[in-house]
Structure formats: structure tokens, C-alpha cells
Symmetry: C2
Subunit: 156 residues, 2 copies
């Protein structure tokens, strides 16, 4: 065979990977939600990293900021975080000077949470990164698709 070029270049690496049939599993909402959430989180985690935040800590700062004076139970519960697991997060916030536990005026058991000035500033910076991240997502999915998504999910 005079003309024997055997596609040597991709013999090993590229072509060995025949795509699998994922049709059966990709029909499931739960699977799609999980994989997509992972994709989106990969990006937002990178966006938050420079600020020393993770998705969970970022969302906590956002919610405390929007609801100053609320208790740990209230904030944690709104975020779906177990109360015991929220303690360490608040400890970290206080250590870093981002939020504080003020005495509640009405209940000496509970704390009135609020962001410090530094916390507010950090959140503002983080918000910039997150907005850029949202922009990237808006491209990755489709402009109106994101809104559909929000609408659907918010309806619960």
C-alpha cells in the first residue's frame, strides 16, 4: 500500500476515547443538576479563591449582610447549614475580622450577627468577582436560559 499513512499522530492519545452513551443517565434531572452545579461551582470557587472565600462562606456573608442582627440559627437555617457546622464558620469570620457576634438585645442566649466594615469591604470585592463569574455563566448557558433557570428553581 503505497499510500500508507496510518494516522499515527492520534493513534494513542486522542482516538482511543470513543464517547460513552450517556443518554440514559442524562435524562435525569438530578444528574443534570448535580453535574451542572459542579461545573458552575468550579468557576465560582476559582472566582472566590483570591478573597479567601468558598461558596458556603460567600453565601453566608451575603445573607448576614442582607439580614444584620439575625441569630446564628436563623442564618444557618436559611442557608441549609447545620447549626453546629455554622459555629466554625462564624469563628473564622471573627478571627478574620469579617463579622461579629453582638449580644442580642432580646435574648441573652443568641447572637446578633453583623458584618464588620472589613467584612463589608471584602464582600464588595468578592461581589465583583462573582459578577464576572455570572457573566461567564451567562455565556456558557444562554442569555435567557439563565433567567429561565432562576425562575424555575425559585418557584421551588
Amino acid at each position: 500500500m503505497p499510500d500508507s499513512r496510518k494516522e499515527h499522530r492520534r493513534s494513542a492519545a486522542a482516538s482511543k476515547e470513543n464517547a460513552l452513551d450517556m443518554q440514559a443517565i442524562e435524562g435525569h434531572v438530578g444528574y443534570l443538576l448535580r453535574r451542572t452545579q459542579l461545573l458552575v461551582f468550579e468557576d465560582v470557587i476559582r472566582a472566590l479563591e483570591p478573597h479567601g472565600l468558598r461558596p458556603a462562606t460567600y453565601s453566608a456573608l451575603v445573607v448576614i449582610d442582607a439580614n444584620p442582627g439575625r441569630s446564628q440559627r436563623e442564618i444557618a437555617s436559611a442557608l441549609g447549614i447545620q447549626r453546629p457546622n455554622f459555629v466554625a464558620m462564624m469563628d473564622e469570620f471573627e478571627t478574620r475580622g469579617l463579622a461579629e457576634r453582638l449580644p442580642s438585645p432580646t435574648d441573652r442566649r443568641s447572637h446578633a450577627l453583623k458584618l464588620t466594615e472589613r467584612g463589608t469591604a471584602l464582600l464588595a470585592e468578592a461581589n465583583k468577582s462573582v459578577r464576572a463569574h455570572e457573566k461567564r455563566m451567562a455565556q456558557k448557558f444562554t442569555p435567557e436560559g439563565i433567567n429561565t433557570l432562576k425562575a424555575i428553581l425559585r418557584g421551588k
Copy 2:
């Protein structure tokens, strides 16, 4: 002492929990995806429990079933599972007689995975539960909303 009884009254039932302002965080795709995925998983986890399966193991069975003869690396990678973490899963499948590692005809390093008869039967049963779960989800969201979701996410 001022007679301040007025505050007491409402605390009995409804009023202790003034809803928090979640508007700021609910505008984020990542947050919405995560919370929704959690919601959906709660239901599918319950659906799979009677079959001794979890979302990850269920999806593995589905993908092996649709792609018999593929290697562990291929299956795991398609599912976004780290190869080391997939080993224990396959061990469990073999212990329970749901799947087997057959020698690959072309590469003695790798295994050709396939479901056993018992695995196929269990998957069929699990699929019934999952279909019921999907029906519940279709109600919870909206009929056409689910399709929109799938379409958006599959586009990636």
C-alpha cells in the same frame, strides 16, 4: 415595671420566624443550582434507598448497563468520579453480585465491566422508583420547566 405583655402574645405560633431576605443570594445561578440539586437529591435518595443504592451508585449502574465492556477509567471519568474512588464502588458491586470485572480482550491491564443478571434486574427495579421520583419532580417544578432545564444543561 412597665406592663409589657403585648409582645408575648404572637410568639406562640407563627411569628417567631420572620423570613430572612434571601433575594441577594438567590440571584446567583450557583446557589440556585446547589439548593435545587439538594432538594431533588433528598427525594431521589429516598427513592433509591430500598434498593440499597445511592445517586452515585445508581448512575454508575446505568452507565455500565448502557456501555458494557468499557473500562473502569472510562466509566468513572464519564461520571466525573476519581478513578481511585471508583474502585470501592466496583468492589461493592462485585460483592453484591451486581456487576463484574471481566478481563479485557485487548488490554490485560484493564477490566471490561458489565452488569450481571442480578444487576440488570436490580437496575430495572430501581428505574421504576426513579421514574416515580421524576414524576414527583415534574410536579414540583413545572411540566415544561423540566424540559427547559434539561435542554439548557445538556447544552453545557
